[in-house]
C-alpha cells in the first residue's frame, strides 16, 4: 500500500509543480516557479530511487489506480506497471529532468517566458512518467500524445520567431503520421484481443500469433496479425524516435531552447519509441518480418544521419544528427532482439547526450547565443569546466573504452554481428561504419569549438550570418515563408548574436556547470557498473521477453562476455576501437592541421556535398510530394467539394432547410393557449390512433 502511494507520487509531484508554475505564471515570482518545479522533480527523482531499491528487492507491481470509464466490456483505466524496465526509465527521466531543471535557471535567466518554461518542462516530466509507468495501451497513448504536445509547445517556445513556428508545425505534422500508425496498431490490438491491458495482451499474444492473418484485399493473401500490429506500432515509434523517413522534424526541433533539446529531443522523449518497442517485446518476438523491418530502418538511420552530422556548422544541429544516429543504433539493437542492450544504450545515451547538449548550451551562453562553430575555437581557455565535461561526453559518445558509451555501443555491434535475421548483415556494416563517422564529426565539433585559433569576436561575420540563415530557413515552406524566415533571422541576428569585437567568452554560472558535472559522472561510470547486471544478469527478466529459441543473440553475447574490465581491455584488439581512433585522428588532421583539406574536398565532391547539404532531399521530397500534393488536393476539395458541394448544397441548403423549419416551428408557437391545448389534444389523438387501432 505504501509503495502504491509512492508510485502515484512520482508522476503527480511534477504535475503539481507544473500546475502551480503554469496556472499562476503571471503572478508568481521567478524564484517560486523554479523552486516548486525543481522540488516536484526532485521528489519524483527521490521516490524513483526508493522504488528502484524496492524493485531490486523483487517487488514488482501491476495494477489499476483509477478506473476512468467503462464502456461495455472495455475498461479504460489508469494503471501502473512497475518493473525493472519501468524503474530504469523512471530513474533516467527524473534524474536528467532534474539536471535540466537546474540548468534552466541559468540558461533562461533573461527570458520573459521563464515561468512558462518551467511549467512546460515539469509537465513534460509528468507526461513522460505517465508514458513509462502505464500498464495499458490507452495510458501509453495518452502519455505519447502528451509528450508530443509539450514537445510541440517547447519547440515553438519562442513563438515570435517564424522559424520556431515552422519547426513546431513540422514536428507536429510528422508525428501525426507516426501516431496514425500507432493508433491503428492499438486499434488492432483492441479489436483482436478485446483488452488494452499489457499483461492480458501479452498472455494472449502467442495463441493469436500462429493462425491469425489479416486479409488486406478481400479474401486473398493476408498479413500475419502480429506483423501488422508490430509494424504499425513501430511506425509510431519511428515518428517519436525520429527514424528515417520520419526523422525530418528532429533537426528542426533545435529551434527550441537548449535545455529542452537536451531533455526532450535527446535524452527522454525521442527514446519513448525505443522504450515502447522494448515494452512490447513479447509481441515483436512473434514476428521476424517486423524485426527485420526494424533492423533495416534502424541501420539506415544510424549511418546516413551520421554523415549529415559531418557538414553541419550549427553546434546544436551536430548534436541533433548524432542523436538521430544513436537512435538508429538503439533501433538496430531492438531489431536483433537485444532489447536489454537497446535500453542500456538508451540509458547511457541519455546521460552523455544530455551532457553534450547542455555543454553546447553552455558554449552558446558563453558565445552570447552564437551557435555557429566556425565562429568559435580555443574556448577551452575561457570555459574550462564546459571544456572538460564536453570532452567526457564526446569520448563517451564515440565509445572510448571504459566510458559508458563504449559498453553499450560495443554490445550493440556485437549483438548485430551475432544475429541471423534478414537485414542483419547490412546492419553490421552500417553500425561499423557509423563508429567511424561518429568519431569523426564528434571530434570535428570538439576541435572546432575548444581548440585551435580563436575565431570569435570578429566584426566581419556577415558570412556566418548568411550561412546561419541558410540552415535555419527550411526548404519545406513556401517562398513567402522563406522570406519571412530570412527576415526574422536577420532581426534576430541584430538583437543578440555573437560576441562584440574584442569581447571574450566567459565561463557560465554554477547552475549551468553543476548539472554538467553531475551528468559527466554517470557518463563515465554508468556503463562499467551497469553492463553486467543489465545485460547478462537477471535484471530485465520478466520485464523483457526474448524468444531464445528463435533469437539466441543475447545468450551468445553472454558467452563472449568476461566482465566489464576484460571487455574494455579486449577492445583494443577489435576493429571498432581502431575505427573510432581513426575517426578522431582524421578529424584532428583535417581541422587542426590542414583546414584546407576539407575545403578542397568540399569543392571536389560538389554533388555529394550538395546531397548532404540538402539532407538527402528528404525535406524537398516531402515539400513537393506531400505538402504540394496535399495543397493540390486541398485546393481541389476546397473549390469543388467544399465550396461547391458542401457549402453550396449541403451546408447552405441544410441551413436554409433548418431556418425554414425553425420558422414554421415558431409559427406554431403562436402564444395562443388554445393552440397549445389543441396541439396536446392532437398529440393524444395521434398516439391513441396509432396504438388503439393496433391493439
Amino acid at each position: 500500500m505504501e509503495m502504491q502511494k509512492l508510485y502515484l507520487l512520482v508522476p503527480l509531484a511534477p504535475l503539481v509543480g507544473a500546475a502551480i508554475a503554469g496556472l499562476f505564471c503571471r503572478v508568481i515570482p521567478r524564484w517560486l516557479a523554479h523552486t516548486v518545479t525543481i522540488a516536484g522533480v526532485a521528489v519524483a527523482c527521490l521516490a524513483s530511487y526508493v522504488i528502484f531499491k524496492d524493485v531490486m528487492a523483487g517487488n514488482t507491481y501491476n495494477g489499476p489506480v483509477y478506473q476512468w470509464l467503462t464502456s461495455g466490456d472495455y475498461h479504460f483505466e489508469v494503471g501502473f506497471l512497475i518493473d525493472q524496465l519501468t524503474v530504469t526509465m523512471m530513474l533516467v527521466v527524473t534524474s536528467v529532468s532534474l539536471m535540466v531543471h537546474i540548468y534552466t535557471i541559468g540558461y533562461m535567466q533573461d527570458d520573459p517566458g521563464y515561468n512558462r518554461f518551467f511549467s512546460y518542462i515539469s509537465l513534460f516530466t509528468f507526461s513522460m512518467l505517465m508514458l513509462v509507468m502505464s500498464n495499458n495501451f490507452m495510458q501509453l497513448f495518452f502519455g505519447w500524445e502528451a509528450v508530443g504536445l509539450v514537445s510541440y509547445l517547447l519547440i515553438g517556445f519562442w513563438y515570435t520567431r517564424p522559424t520556431a513556428i515552422f519547426a513546431n508545425l513540422k514536428a507536429f505534422l510528422v508525428n501525426r503520421v507516426g501516431d496514425f500508425g500507432f493508433i491503428l496498431g492499438i486499434g488492432l490490438v483492441l479489436a483482436h484481443f478485446g483488452t488494452l491491458d499489457y499483461a492480458a495482451v501479452f498472455a494472449k499474444a502467442p495463441e493469436l500469433a500462429g493462425n491469425t492473418t489479416l486479409a488486406l484485399f478481400g479474401e486473398g493473401e493476408g498479413v500475419a496479425l502480429m506483423t501488422a500490429i508490430c509494424i504499425l506500432l513501430f511506425i509510431g515509434a519511428m515518428g517519436k524516435s525520429a527514424q528515417v523517413p520520419l526523422h525530418v522534424w528532429l533537426p528542426d526541433s533545435m529551434e527550441g531552447p537548449t535545455p529542452i533539446s537536451a531533455l526532450i529531443h535527446a535524452a527522454t522523449m525521442v527514446t519513448a519509441g525505443i522504450f515502447m518497442v522494448a515494452r512490447m517485446s513479447p509481441l515483436f518476438e512473434l514476428s521476424n518480418t517486423a524485426l527485420s523491418f526494424v533492423i533495416v530502418i534502424g541501420s539506415i538511420t544510424a549511418l546516413f544521419m551520421g554523415f549529415l552530422g559531418i557538414i553541419q556548422n550549427d553546434i546544436k544541429r551536430v548534436v541533433a544528427y548524432s542523436t538521430l544516429s544513436q537512435l538508429g543504433y538503439m533501433t538496430v539493437a531492438l531489431g536483433v532482439s537485444a532489447y536489454s542492450v537497446a535500453i542500456f544504450h538508451l540509458m547511457t545515451h541519455a546521460f552523455f547526450k544530455a551532457l553534450l547538449f547542455l555543454g553546447a548550451g553552455s558554449v552558446i551562453i558563453g558565445m552570447h547565443h552564437d551557435q555557429d562553430i566556425r565562429n568559435m575555437g580555443g574556448l577551452r581557455k575561457y570555459m574550462p569546466i564546459t571544456w572538460i565535461t564536453s570532452l567526457v561526453g564526446s569520448l563517451a559518445l564515440i565509445g572510448t573504452p571504459f566510458f559508458s558509451g563504449f559498453y553499450s555501443k560495443d554490445s550493440i555491434i556485437e549483438s548485430v554481428a551475432l544475429s541471423h535475421l534478414p537485414g542483419a548483415g547490412f546492419a553490421y556494416f552500417s553500425v561499423m561504419a557509423g563508429v567511424f563517422v561518429t568519431a569523426f564529426y564528434s571530434f570535428r565539433m570538439y576541435f572546432l569549438v575548444f581548440h585551435g585559433e580563436e575565431r570569435f569576436g570578429k566584426a566581419a561575420d556577415h558570412d556566418a550570418h548568411a550561412a546561419h540563415a541558410r540552415t535555419d530557413a527550411h526548404d519545406d515552406h513556401s517562398a513567402h515563408g522563406d522570406a519571412a524566415a530570412h527576415h526574422a533571422d536577420d532581426t534576430h541576428a541584430e538583437e543578440h548574436h555573437g560576441l562584440a569585437p574584442g569581447q571574450k567568452p566567459h565561463e557560465t554560472p554554477w547552475v549551468v556547470t553543476l548539472p554538467l558535472v553531475m551528468l559527466a559522472i554517470p557518463s563515465v561510470i554508468i556503463g562499467y557498473i551497469g553492463i553486467e547486471p543489465m545485460l547478462f544478469g537477471d535484471f530485465f527478466k520478466g520485464a523483457i521477453f526474448v524468444d531464445t529459441e528463435a533469437h539466441p543473440v543475447m545468450e551468445e553475447l553472454a558467452h563472449h562476455f568476461h566482465g566489464a574490465f576484460a571487455m574494455a581491455t579486449h577492445a583494443v584488439t577489435t576493429a571498432v576501437f581502431w575505427l573510432a581512433l581513426l575517426g578522431v585522428a582524421l578529424s584532428w588532421f583535417f581541422y587542426m592541421k590542414r583546414p584546407d583539406i576539407p575545403a578542397a574536398i568540399k569543392s571536389r565532391c560538389g554533388p555529394l556535398y550538395t546531397l548532404l547539404e540538402n539532407k538527402y532531399y528528404f525535406d524537398k521530397f516531402n515539400d513537393v510530394v506531400f505538402a504540394g500534393g496535399a495543397r493540390l488536393l486541398g485546393r481541389g476539395l476546397w473549390k469543388g467539394g467544399d465550396a461547391g458541394l458542401i457549402d453550396g448544397i449541403i451546408v447552405n441548403g441544410s441551413v436554409g432547410l433548418v431556418r425554414w423549419f425553425a420558422a414554421v416551428a415558431r409559427l406554431f408557437q403562436s402564444g395562443h393557449i388554445y393552440h397549445y391545448a389543441f396541439t396536446m389534444i392532437i398529440g393524444v389523438f395521434v398516439l391513441m390512433t396509432l396504438w388503439v387501432t393496433r391493439a
Partner: protein
C-alpha cells in the same frame, strides 16, 4: 371483506420522516415569516436552506438500502428515491442561492411565501419520487404544479409572468386531466392503483390489454407534459421565457428529477409488462422532441427561450435511455439503459442550473438580461464566468470531455446495445444540429464586441457556487465513473 374486518396497520413513519420533516418545517417557516420584519427576509431564507440541509440529513440517516413500503403501500422508500431526493435538495439549495439576488430586487417576490412555496414544491417532488400508488403520483404532481403556478405568477405586475402563469395553469390542468383519465383506465383494467400490485396483476395476465393501452396513451401524455416533450411541450418556451428567471431556474432543474422518478415508478415499476407499447410511444415523442427542440432553438434570439427548446431536446434524448430497457422481451440491458437516463437527467440538471444561474448573474437592477445580445463580449467583462458558461455550453452540446458528452455517450450506448442503430444515428444527427446554437453562444461571448462594458458584480457566495457548478461540469467529464456507479447502484437496489 367488510369494513369491520379491515386490518389497519399503523404506518411506519420512519420511512417517510424526510417528508414529514419537510412539511412541518414548511408550515413553521410560513408562520415564522410573520414575525420577520427584515425586508430581505434573511431569516426566512436561512431557515429554508437549513430545512433543506436538515431534510438531507434525515434522508441520509434513514437510508437503509432496502425497499420498504408504508402508508398502505402508497409510499415506497428505496435507494433510488433517497439518491434522487438528496440530489433534489442539493439542486433546490443551489437554486435558492442563485435566485437570492434576483428576487431581492423584486419586492413582490421577496416574501416569505416564495420560500414556503419552494419548500412545498420540493415536498411535492419528494412525494412523486417516493410514490408507489398512482394517486400519490398525482397528488405529488399537483402539489408541485400548484406551487409552481403561484411562483410563476408571483411577480404580479409583470404581464409576461402573469400570462405565462395562466398558460401553465390551464395547460397543466389539461395535462392533469389526461393523467387522471389514464390512471382511471388502468384502474379499470387491473382493479388497483397500487403500482406494485398493478405490476403483479399484469404478470398474472388476465387483464384487458386494449383498455390498458388506452389508459397508457393518456398516462404517457400526462408524463410527457411534465417532461415537456413534443407535442406536449408548447408550454415550455412560453413559461421559461415569461416566468421570472429565478422561477425558470427552478422549473428547469428540480422537477426534471421528479419527472424522471415518476417515469421509473409508473412505467418501469408498474407497467414493465407493457414496455413494448410505451417504449414505442416514447420513441416517437423522443424523436419529435429532438427534432423540434434542436431546430426551433436555432431560430431563437432570447437565451431563456433557446434554453427552453434545448430542454425539450434534452428530455427527448433522456427518454432514449428509457425506451431501450427491454428489447425483444429481453431485459438484460435494462439496468444500463435506465441508469444512463438517470445519469443524463442528473447531469442535465447540473448544467441547466449553471446556465440559468448565469442569466441570473447577468440580470441586474431589476432588469432581465436574457437576450443572446446580452452575452456579447462576456469574455471581456469577465473571462472567468465566460469560461464557466463556455464549459456549460460545451457540455450541453456534448463535446468530449465535458459531462454532457458522457451522458449522451452512455445513452447512445444503451440505444445501440438494444439494437436501435437508426435511433442512435437520428439522435446524433439532431445533436449535431444542436451544437450550432450552443456554439453560437460561445461565439457571441468570445468574438463579439460587448455592448455593455459594466463589470459583473455578484455576491461572493454566488460566485463561488457558480464556479463550483462550472468546474463540476468539467470534472464530472473527466471522472464520470463515480456518478455513473451511483446511478446504476441506486437503480439496481430499487428495481
Amino acid at each position: 371483506m367488510t369494513l369491520a374486518e379491515m386490518q389497519f396497520q399503523t404506518p411506519e413513519l420512519r420511512l417517510a420522516s424526510a417528508e414529514i420533516f419537510m412539511l412541518v418545517m414548511a408550515c413553521l417557516i410560513l408562520m415564522l415569516d410573520l414575525f420577520v420584519k427584515d425586508r430581505k427576509r434573511t431569516v426566512t431564507f436561512v431557515a429554508t436552506q437549513l430545512t433543506l440541509v436538515g431534510a438531507a440529513v434525515v434522508t441520509f440517516a434513514t437510508t437503509s438500502g432496502d425497499i420498504g413500503y408504508t402508508f398502505s403501500n402508497m409510499y415506497v422508500g428505496d435507494l433510488l428515491g433517497d439518491v434522487l431526493k438528496l440530489l433534489l435538495y442539493l439542486t433546490v439549495i443551489v437554486v435558492l442561492f442563485y435566485s437570492r439576488g434576483y428576487i431581492l430586487e423584486r419586492p413582490q417576490m421577496a416574501r416569505g411565501e416564495y420560500y414556503a412555496l419552494t419548500l412545498f414544491a420540493t415536498l411535492g417532488m419528494m412525494v412523486m419520487i417516493s410514490a408507489n400508488h398512482f394517486l400519490t403520483v398525482y397528488l405529488g404532481l399537483e402539489l408541485l404544479s400548484l406551487s409552481l403556478y403561484a411562483m410563476v405568477a408571483m411577480n404580479r405586475d409583470s404581464v409576461p409572468a402573469t400570462e405565462a402563469a395562466m398558460k401553465y395553469f390551464v395547460l397543466g390542468a389539461l395535462a392533469s386531466g389526461l393523467l387522471l383519465y389514464g390512471m382511471s383506465m388502468i384502474y379499470g383494467a387491473t382493479g388497483t392503483l397500487e403500482i406494485t400490485a398493478v405490476a403483479e396483476r399484469l404478470y398474472m395476465g388476465q387483464v384487458d390489454r386494449g383498455i390498458l393501452v388506452f389508459g397508457l396513451v393518456f398516462l404517457v401524455s400526462g408524463i410527457a407534459f411534465k417532461l415537456g416533450v413534443v407535442p406536449f411541450h408548447m408550454w415550455i418556451p412560453d413559461v421559461y421565457h415569461g416566468a421570472p428567471t429565478a422561477v425558470t431556474l427552478f422549473i428547469a432543474t428540480a422537477p426534471k428529477l421528479a419527472a424522471f422518478a415518476i417515469v421509473v415508478r409508473m412505467l418501469v415499476n408498474g407497467l414493465i409488462v407493457m414496455a413494448p407499447d410505451w417504449q414505442m410511444m416514447l420513441i416517437l415523442l423522443s424523436v419529435l422532441s429532438m427534432a423540434i427542440g434542436n431546430i426551433a432553438a436555432i431560430a431563437q434570439t432570447n437565451l431563456k427561450r433557446m434554453l427552453a427548446y434545448s430542454a425539450i431536446s434534452h428530455m427527448g434524448f433522456m427518454l432514449l435511455g428509457m425506451v431501450t430497457g427491454v428489447a425483444n422481451g429481453d431485459a438484460r440491458f435494462a439496468l444500463n439503459a435506465y441508469s444512463s437516463s438517470m445519469f443524463y437527467v442528473v447531469t442535465y440538471v447540473l448544467t441547466s442550473a449553471g446556465t440559468f444561474g448565469m442569466i441570473l448573474l447577468l440580470a441586474r437592477g431589476g432588469l432581465e438580461s436574457d437576450e443572446l445580445e446580452d452575452l456579447k463580449g462576456l469574455n471581456k467583462r469577465s473571462p472567468w464566468f465566460a469560461a464557466m458558461m463556455m464549459m456549460m455550453m460545451f457540455s450541453m452540446a456534448g463535446i468530449p470531455f465535458f459531462v454532457g458528452f458522457f451522458a449522451k455517450f452512455s445513452v447512445l450506448q444503451a440505444v445501440v446495445a438494444a439494437g436501435y442503430l437508426w435511433l442512435a444515428l437520428v439522435a446524433v444527427f439532431f445533436s449535431l444540429i444542436g451544437c450550432f446554437y450552443y456554439l453560437r453562444v460561445v461565439k457571441i461571448m468570445y468574438f463579439d464586441q460587448p455592448t455593455n462594458s459594466l463589470p459583473i458584480i455578484a455576491p461572493l457566495d454566488m460566485k463561488i457556487l457558480m464556479s463550483a457548478n462550472g468546474l463540476a461540469v468539467a470534472l464530472l467529464g473527466i471522472f464520470p465513473q463515480a456518478l455513473m456507479s451511483i446511478c446504476a447502484f441506486a437503480l439496481l437496489r430499487s428495481l
